[in-house]
């Protein structure tokens, strides 16, 4: 994908000869590419061959590519399992809500931050909101567990102080999604808004002045000037997020969920982890993973086509 991107960006590219001259001209750039390409080939492309065990039976200790053809047997098995469909539903719902909420907020946040006049305050706010992104997900979940504990957690202490009853947040299927989204926001809003801040800071001030002269209020300015400037960035981010829709934060869910919260917390990846890896059903797990990969790819491709047609700015 990286290679084809480079090819297409040069208008009128006609073949290997041009590649050769390009390589000579920009040797250092191509050398930079070597390590990432090796990384992608070794860790992303070669393991794809392993997907074959979704169709062949895998026996530990024997061939990596399985020992016998099973056809669609594993696919039939998981498509009939209601636990799988529960996981699928949860993945889509969690990603959907996450996208709906966590996607616009950094945009709004950067718009608001952009309006601040005091530079120092702005910088402080930016730094403070970026820092949580560097916390490991394990630390974040441990913090959540400590704060939300019904017997020792501060949130419940406050609830009880106001006369309410302590809620066992981490073990309640209803609260799972809410806690997940809130902690995602807390951790990533600052970081995700950086890219939008970068776009905004390079915005042309003349347009704003002209708009103010024409009598446009702040909100009208935002809608008609700022948003169109940010649109390409927003579109690309949106496509990437859509492609990840089935790939939602596995580690966080794994750390947060308990058997009681499976009905809302279990997502495809944790399902594969439990049944496929911990239960040592490798072929079954691979089949599910392959299913997820194919759907993600389709979504990504569709999203790209739509943005290309509608706004003329897709990922490829």
């Amino acid at each position: 994908m990286k290679k084809s991107k480079k090819k297409e960006k040069k208008p009128g590219f006609t073949g290997i000869k041009e590649l050769g001259t390009s390589m000579k001209k920009n040797t250092t750039l191509y050398i930079f590419l070597i390590l990432p390409i090796i990384y992608f080939v070794v860790f992303k492309y070669i393991p794809m061959f392993g997907n074959i065990i979704a169709f062949r039976k895998y026996v530990p200790g024997q061939s990596y590519f399985g020992v016998s053809w099973e056809g669609f047997r594993y696919f039939e098995m998981f498509l009939k399992d209601e636990a799988f469909w529960n996981a699928f539903k949860n993945t889509v719902v969690l990603s959907g809500i996450s996208l709906l909420i966590c996607f616009p907020i950094p945009i709004i946040f950067s718009l608001l931050l952009n309006e601040l006049m005091q530079k120092k305050f702005k910088k402080v706010v930016q730094s403070v909101t970026i820092i949580p992104r560097f916390l490991s997900v394990v630390v974040v979940v441990a913090m959540m567990n400590a704060m939300l504990s019904p017997s020792t957690g501060i949130v419940n202490r406050i609830i009880e102080y106001f006369g309410g009853e302590a809620i066992y947040f981490m073990n309640d299927p209803f609260w799972f999604r809410i806690i997940y989204i809130c902690s995602e926001l807390w951790q990533f809003v600052g970081w995700n808004s950086i890219i939008y801040m970068a776009v905004l800071s390079s915005a042309d001030q003349e347009q704003y002045e002209a708009a103010m002269v024409d009598g446009a209020g702040k909100i009208k300015q935002a809608i008609h000037i700022t948003l169109p400037i940010m649109l390409p960035t927003i579109a690309i981010n949106l496509i990437i997020s859509l492609g990840n829709i089935l790939n939602i934060g596995f580690e966080k869910v794994l750390l947060m969920y308990t058997p009681t919260t499976y009905e809302t917390a279990d997502i495809i990846q944790t399902f594969v982890y439990r049944i496929g890896l911990m239960g040592a059903n490798y072929s079954y797990g691979t089949a599910v993973g392959l299913f997820q990969g194919v759907i993600s790819l389709t979504l990504l491709w569709m999203a790209n086509r739509i943005t290309n047609k509608r706004w003329g700015c897709g990922l490829w």
Partner: protein, 509 residues
């Protein structure tokens, strides 16, 4: 010039950083490759506990090397990685000569990956003597797999079945409030509720290691399995000599009913399924928890920490409460808790004689004392016919590698007399006399093909059962009203086929 120098330094640092990762990888794979070693060099993969990190200077290692005339190459992995690491090592095909703390999975054993130890027992006279003297041959036979062979060596093997996981209770609080020591599960619940009345801020019964831990203990009192002991859900009923799927039996329903009552009445800590280990210990010391299901030896630790809060703090092990008649609330256990497996390729290697020699020495009585107590005069002494460690403050496990789960092949039960409070030793003896500890299931009778068929089925079943267990306990599923739909769902997921397959395989053995 300066810029170039700095960028050169940065690049070198990055490259060196990458290379260092490569370097240590190579070292590890060398020591794990047994084929290249000399004829008395043995490679082992061990899984170290954080409490006793491995050290090359361990006395236990030196004793093995001297007495069996071998040289050990040890590769140590943190025990938290054990499940994934063993899978990786087995799948890679380059297995060290001995892998510790691993019970053979039928898939691996019957596919020819592991060594059928039973074929070589004639070369291990001390092992045979150990089994014969303690009446454990029948037990070893239960480890035989579908092909009639067994693939493991029992480690931490004792002369009788001891269960380290017991119920601990604050004896001083009971005495203070004139409450009797509970002997049955119903009495346990009553005592806990009375304690809750007296100490409203407390959560009388609690647990660490989540649902799987305490539920495995309580299930034992109903002659069934749950939590840690659930496995693939199949339970071997000794009286009827057949296998049943435990979660749909009547006993399980009774077990779940009790667990639900325990939770709903407030006797059981609402956070029992998610509690953090260190928070749990703090709360015990502060006197917010009175009854726990934990390692029996921890009562010493709790007493030490609790004394700071309450000078009368006295936590003791209590006799396991009875549930059904003659069934006690303990997890099953065998005379051994750990196992070694060896790769099948070891039989062709030059060092096979050395391996057998080492293993045989380790099953001798002399090795039993040496690996548990160390060297007389250096680490222990004999007083009035009883063995005692020389220094109570030294942690012999982490400093000398004694009574360690990776190397202590035979475990001297005199260790308990030497280190535990008398009450705990009494409980262990009580358990042995009254046969309180339920027996472990025999090895699965299924062939690898059958296992492959049932593997995904049993995984999804167990997954559903674990979620339902919590559902029943927390009340989102009602034990009376939802039981039938629970059984029906299990049926839809295929538990009856599982039972049929097991019955057939067991009958055909």
């Amino acid at each position: 010039m300066k810029k170039k120098l700095i960028s050169l330094l940065v690049v070198t640092a990055m490259v060196v950083g990458c290379m260092s990762g490569c370097g240590s990888e190579n070292k590890k794979s060398d020591s794990a490759n047994g084929a290249k070693e000399g004829s008395n060099e043995i490679s082992m993969m061990i899984f170290e506990d954080a409490a006793a990190p491995f050290s090359e200077d361990w006395l236990s290692l030196k004793m093995i090397e001297e007495n069996a005339d071998v040289k050990l190459n040890i590769q140590s992995v943190p025990v938290s990685d054990q499940a994934t690491k063993t899978q990786v090592v087995f799948n890679s095909g380059e297995i060290p000569d001995i892998v510790t703390k691993t019970f053979p999975k039928p898939k691996d054993a019957l596919s020819g990956l592991l060594l059928p130890v039973s074929d070589y027992v004639d070369k291990l006279p001390n092992f045979q003597k150990y089994l014969k003297d303690n009446g454990l041959e029948k037990y070893m036979d239960r480890q035989r797999m579908a092909d009639g062979k067994y693939y493991m060596l029992p480690i931490k093997a004792k002369t009788a079945t001891i269960q380290d996981h017991q119920w601990l209770i604050r004896k001083d609080i009971l005495e203070k409030n004139n409450l009797p020591m509970p002997t049955t599960l119903e009495e346990l619940k009553d005592v806990a509720l009375k304690l809750k009345e007296l100490y409203p801020e407390s959560t009388p019964i609690s647990n660490r290691f989540y649902t799987n831990n305490i539920m495995a203990g309580i299930a034992g009192a109903y002659n069934t399995i749950a939590g840690w002991t659930l496995g693939d859900g199949m339970f071997y009923d000794e009286k009827q000599d057949n296998w049943v799927f435990a979660p749909t039996t009547d006993n399980w329903k009774q077990f779940v009913t009790y667990a639900r009552e325990l939770y709903a009445s407030g006797a059981l800590d609402p956070e029992f399924s998610t509690q953090d280990s260190s928070v749990y210990e703090q709360r015990i010391a502060k006197g917010e928890i009175f009854i726990v299901y934990d390692w029996a030896t921890n009562c010493k630790l709790f007493n030490q920490e609790g004394k700071a809060f309450d000078e009368n703090f006295n936590m003791v092990a209590m006799a396991p409460p009875e549930g059904l008649e003659n069934e006690y609330a303990l997890q099953w256990n065998g005379p051994w808790e750990q196992a070694w497996v060896l790769p099948a390729t070891v039989a062709e290697q030059d060092n096979f004689e050395a391996i057998l020699r080492m293993i045989d020495w380790l099953y001798s009585d002399e090795a039993m004392v040496a690996m548990t107590f160390g060297e007389e005069g250096t680490t222990y002494k004999v007083e009035d016919g009883k063995k005692k460690f020389l220094d109570d403050t030294i942690n012999y496990q982490s400093d000398y590698g004694l009574y360690e789960n990776n190397f202590c092949v035979r475990f001297d039960t005199e260790y308990y007399k030497a280190t535990l409070p008398q009450e705990v030793v009494d409980i262990y003896d009580y358990c042995v006399e009254n046969d309180c500890v339920p027996p472990v299931n025999p090895a699965s009778p299924l062939t690898p093909e059958q296992m492959d068929e049932t593997s995904a089925v049993s995984s999804t079943l167990v997954d559903y059962v674990s979620a339902s267990l919590e559902g029943f306990i927390f009340g989102t599923m009602d034990v009376e009203k939802d039981w039938d739909s629970f059984v029906e769902k299990c049926e839809n997921k295929g538990y009856k086929q599982l039972e049929e397959m097991y019955s057939e395989a067991w009958a055909n053995r």
